[in-house]
């Protein structure tokens, strides 16, 4: 990872939930958080890695026969084409900033006519901010947005707010101790950056992943209301209910999905808090 080279794990056209208009979302690899409910485990590590759909594997052994690094996978990808089921792939592609910008600029006309643009998501795109920032510089004025945890330095976050037309930032857990337990990181910088957003003039959306038994409390909604209430550039709050399919991809990257909350419960909502505070919101069901 450098200013000129970044690692991308997906580029999705017509990403309808990542901001206004017709947008392309670039998923940057690597995230500083380890949220227990993360549904993109292939976005966590900053390095390219092998991903295998184990469920349909017939154990023919073709991949083992060609493997030259049986002790430690280096994501060389030599086993990918030999799989007759097409079950193996390398996630994480190195892109040069200019080349990625060129790929995105080809659809500038579409972004313009629809009021859309490009969204950088992840992982957390701020982990590779110098690269992302460079790509944005090369976009020729296409509006850029980010989807971020907000966990970064103050300088980077100020830079993000200067360069982006929209910032979508998660507010995951209000209680600082629980925050560290469920996400693995300190909440303080995230809270500070939420305050930056509330005081600034970059349009922003706060996103609340709703996890049953973790953050589906009245206090959590009240904290969001106090952070966002009255902020002139708040677009709305997005409420994202927990998806039970979240664990599906863990086995594919050699991990185990083991959340310590009861995922069979439906999360509780306290929308009356937002209604009373006059905060616009949208529930993704």
């Amino acid at each position: 990872m450098t200013e000129n080279e970044g690692i991308v794990f997906d580029i999705k056209e017509f990403a309808v939930f990542d901001g206004p208009g017709i947008r392309t979302t670039v998923f940057m690899k690597g995230c500083p958080l380890r949220c227990q409910w993360c549904h993109n485990p292939e976005g966590l590590s900053p390095r390219p890695q092998l991903m295998v759909s184990t469920a349909a594997c017939v154990h023919c052994g073709a991949c083992r026969r060609v493997c030259r690094h049986p002790d430690a996978c280096i994501a060389c990808g030599e086993c990918v084409p030999v799989c007759r089921g097409g079950l193996r792939k390398i996630v994480g592609t190195r892109w040069q900033a200019k080349a990625l910008a060129q790929r995105l600029r080809k659809d500038a006309d579409v972004f313009r006519m629809s009021g859309g643009g490009v969204t950088f998501s992840g992982g957390d795109p701020l982990l590779q901010w110098t690269f992302v920032s460079r790509v944005i510089d090369e976009l020729g004025g296409i509006p850029a947005a980010v989807e971020t945890s907000g966990y970064t330095s103050d300088d980077v976050f100020r830079d993000v707010m200067r360069k982006c037309a929209l910032v979508m930032m998660d507010w995951k857990v209000s209680d600082p101790e629980k925050h560290r337990h469920y996400t693995g990181v300190d909440q303080a910088p995230i809270r500070r950056h939420a305050q930056f957003l509330a005081a600034g003039n970059t349009p922003f959306i706060l996103r609340m992943p709703m996890i049953p038994g973790v953050n589906d409390t009245r206090e959590h909604f009240e904290t969001v209301a106090s952070l966002a209430g009255g902020a002139p550039s708040l677009v709305r709050v997005d409420i994202l209910p927990y998806q039970r399919a979240a664990g599906a991809k863990y086995e594919m990257v050699g991990k185990t999905y083991a959340p310590d909350f009861d995922e069979s419960q439906a999360p509780k909502y306290f929308l009356d808090v937002f209604d009373r505070a006059g905060i616009p919101y949208q529930v993704f069901r």
């Binding site: 017509f14 309808v16 990918v80 030999v82 080809k106 006519m113």
Partner: protein, 674 residues
């Protein structure tokens, strides 16, 4: 939806009216088969017998009457006679006139009695008179039945139409229902319904202006008419149930150049969204000036998973039809045939699906037979060009001495048939033929792959050919490269897209100047109809990395086994060719997962995609919303999914009523969805 519509719908959905259907007695005398009778007279007498056998069946709270209780009668020819005819003629499909758009308004606006007055004693006119009398006789019996039930308004309506011109929206709809019903009974099929919003609007407007109907009561009539279109559709002939051709066309330029989108166009979209039935299938004509709001109305239907509307772009279609020789006013009045072919209502006897150019099969054959002897892509393309020309010529030469069973009743709806005493089966103002073009995207992908790997790369031709013969077994790395690392149509890569443009241009060049035996021209298209199943079965593994047994894409769509960037690239790829040259019809299809629509703002975004397609010069677009899990469950538990609607190749049908090969194809397409 009013209570009355809910009741009618329930009754129909439970198929309670099927109890009134009769079974034909195999020993029944078929007097119309008398050897001394001409084919024209036989058709009229068979229609009369079919209608005489009908017993009026009126639903509770009926608004628009006429329900079939008699299945299709045996054909007008015995087996031996038919064998003699087929031995010496080219027979298209079942041999009946099909896939046309009758000019209903020209008949109901005069009334059958006024038309009957003009008939003379020539054979065609005598057959027309028999047909008209049979329709009016059944209408009188329906009128009596309605009166007996105490449905005075319905009885009065039937006393008026179709004998005389309708005065109200209700009368116009009822007249249309009767006239359309009788077409099916004559044996004609894929009887499309054309510019319904145009020919019905004057009656609706007059009622609203005069205060005869409220908006609510008139809308109820429209919904009742739509319901009636679904009553008997399981009895109509088609490749699969649902393939019945009951399409309507909304909006679009009028013959005088004005825009035709009106109140009724809007109502039709709304009624279809409320009823969620497979008929009528809706086409929406648009152009570069169409406001986003109209695309949004259409997208509301897409969201429901109905598989329509299908969009047609006037900016491309009208000049393209003019270039083929259609008069300007006729070109502006175009409608859709059963699926997606462009035809002219009341004037065209075009046979729009008489054959198909199998792009993928031709390119595959040329690669297998000639790759080794070519040094450049241009040399290979030259051979492909020759094969396309040969295939097209052969298609036309094989189709000589056409015979259609006459349709004297249908002839009432076509310009000049009555006046010239010439049955529609013998031709009309336009007598062009259409050829589909199947598998153009995989064909371009094959050429792009051999260009990159063989001509510009280091792959020996013989190694590629051996890999194809072995269906890639033992050629894993090569297979991976061909399938995932070569340019593909649909990803906005000029290397592949330019080859698709070239293939379509070559098709247009090949048909240019050819004439069919009726003096018409040959129209090239981008459709597939059911040929995507047939042609794929004839193929082994192909140079684009497609394994043997993988189906071809339906219509004008990307290969099924590739990785796609997404719908923006897809639209850009498929709007690069000059589609004005291949206007027989055949849409780009894009599948959306139903999860796209969980937020209301997605309606606008999908509408903007459609608009993008139109602004970039696309000719025809069709969107599906699919739920893969639901389809898989429906294969196991069909009883739980009777109302699951899917788009097949040019029409929407109920998933559980399709043959498994079509179900599987739709599930495979869903795997590529956005």
């Amino acid at each position: 939806m009013t209570n009355r519509i809910t009741q009618l719908m329930h009754f129909q959905w439970e198929q309670l009216h099927h109890a009134a259907r009769i079974h034909l007695d195999p020993e029944m005398p078929l007097t119309y088969r008398d050897r001394s009778l001409s084919d024209t007279m036989r058709t009229a007498l068979r229609l009369r017998q079919a209608l005489e056998m009908e017993t009026p069946y009126i639903f509770e709270n009926e608004l628009i009457a006429f329900t079939r209780t008699v299945p299709n009668l045996p054909r007008i020819f015995g087996d031996a006679e038919w064998a003699e005819i087929t031995g010496s003629h080219f027979i298209h499909e079942l041999g009946n006139v099909s896939n046309l758009s009758p000019d209903y308004a020209s008949v109901f606006s005069r009334g059958l009695l006024a038309i009957r007055e003009t008939l003379n004693d020539c054979e065609l006119h005598r057959a027309m008179r028999i047909s008209i009398d049979a329709v009016l006789d059944l209408t009188r019996r329906y009128e009596a039945a309605a009166r007996e039930k105490g449905y005075t308004l319905l009885a009065d309506t039937l006393a008026r139409v179709p004998a005389q011109a309708p005065r109200t929206f209700r009368e116009a709809l009822q007249s249309m229902r009767i006239l359309h019903y009788a077409l099916w009974c004559e044996g004609d099929y894929h009887n499309t319904m054309g510019r319904f919003d145009q020919y019905m609007m004057p009656y609706l407007q007059a009622d609203l202006d005069a205060g005869r109907e409220t908006e609510e009561s008139a809308f109820e009539l429209l919904e009742a008419f739509f319901l009636a279109c679904n009553r008997d559709s399981d009895m109509y002939p088609g490749m699969q149930q649902g393939d019945n051709g009951q399409s309507i066309v909304l909006g679009g330029m009028l013959p005088d150049g004005c825009d035709g989108f009106n109140l009724l166009s809007k109502w039709c979209l709304r009624a279809s969204a409320e009823l969620r039935l497979i008929d009528p299938k809706i086409n929406l004509r648009v152009n570069s000036k169409t406001p986003l709001e109209i695309y949004e109305m259409g997208t509301q239907l897409t969201k429901l998973g109905l598989g329509f509307p299908q969009y047609e772009n006037d900016d491309v279609a009208i000049p393209a039809l003019e270039a083929l020789g259609y008069e300007t006013q006729d070109a502006r009045n175009y409608v859709m045939a059963a699926c997606w072919e462009f035809i002219i209502p009341g004037k065209g006897m075009d046979i729009v699906n008489i054959g198909a150019l199998p792009f993928a099969n031709i390119v595959d054959r040329v690669i297998r037979e000639h790759l080794g002897e070519c040094k450049t892509l241009d040399e290979l393309k030259e051979i492909v060009r020759g094969e396309i020309f040969a295939s097209v010529r052969q298609s036309v030469e094989e189709r000589k001495n056409l015979y259609f069973i006459p349709s004297p009743y249908l002839s009432l709806f076509f310009e000049g048939c009555l006046e010239n005493e010439k049955d529609i089966s013998l031709g009309c103002k336009y007598n062009n033929w259409g050829l589909h073009g199947t598998g153009v995207a995989p064909a371009a992908d094959m050429l792009a792959a051999v260009d990159q790997e063989v001509f510009r790369g280091s792959l020996p031709a013989e190694e590629l050919l051996e890999a194809l013969r072995q269906d890639f077994v033992g050629f894993d790395a090569l297979h991976d490269k061909l399938k995932y690392h070569c340019p593909k149509v649909g990803n906005d890569e000029d290397a592949a897209d330019s080859l698709m443009s070239w293939l379509l241009d070559t098709f247009a060049d090949a048909v240019s100047g050819l004439k069919n035996e009726r003096g018409g021209i040959i129209r090239p298209g981008t459709g597939s109809a059911m040929f995507y199943i047939f042609h794929a079965n004839e193929l082994g593994a192909t140079a684009d990395g497609r394994e043997a047994g993988v189906p071809l894409p339906a219509n004008y769509s990307p290969s099924l086994n590739i990785r796609l960037n997404g719908p923006v690239s897809l639209i850009k790829s498929f709007t690069k060719p000059n589609l004005k040259r291949t206007i027989n019809g055949g849409p780009l299809t894009i599948e959306f997962s139903n999860s796209v629509f969980t937020q209301e703002e997605s309606i606008t975004k999908v509408a903007q995609l459609v608009q993008l397609f139109v602004l970039r010069g696309g000719h025809q677009l069709q969107l599906n919303t699919v739920n893969r899990e639901r389809m898989l469950d429906a294969q196991v538990h069909p009883e739980n999914h009777r109302n699951l609607i899917v788009r097949v190749w040019g029409w929407s049908g109920y998933f559980v009523e399709l043959d498994k090969c079509y179900q599987d194809h739709i599930i495979r397409r869903a795997e590529l969805s956005v």
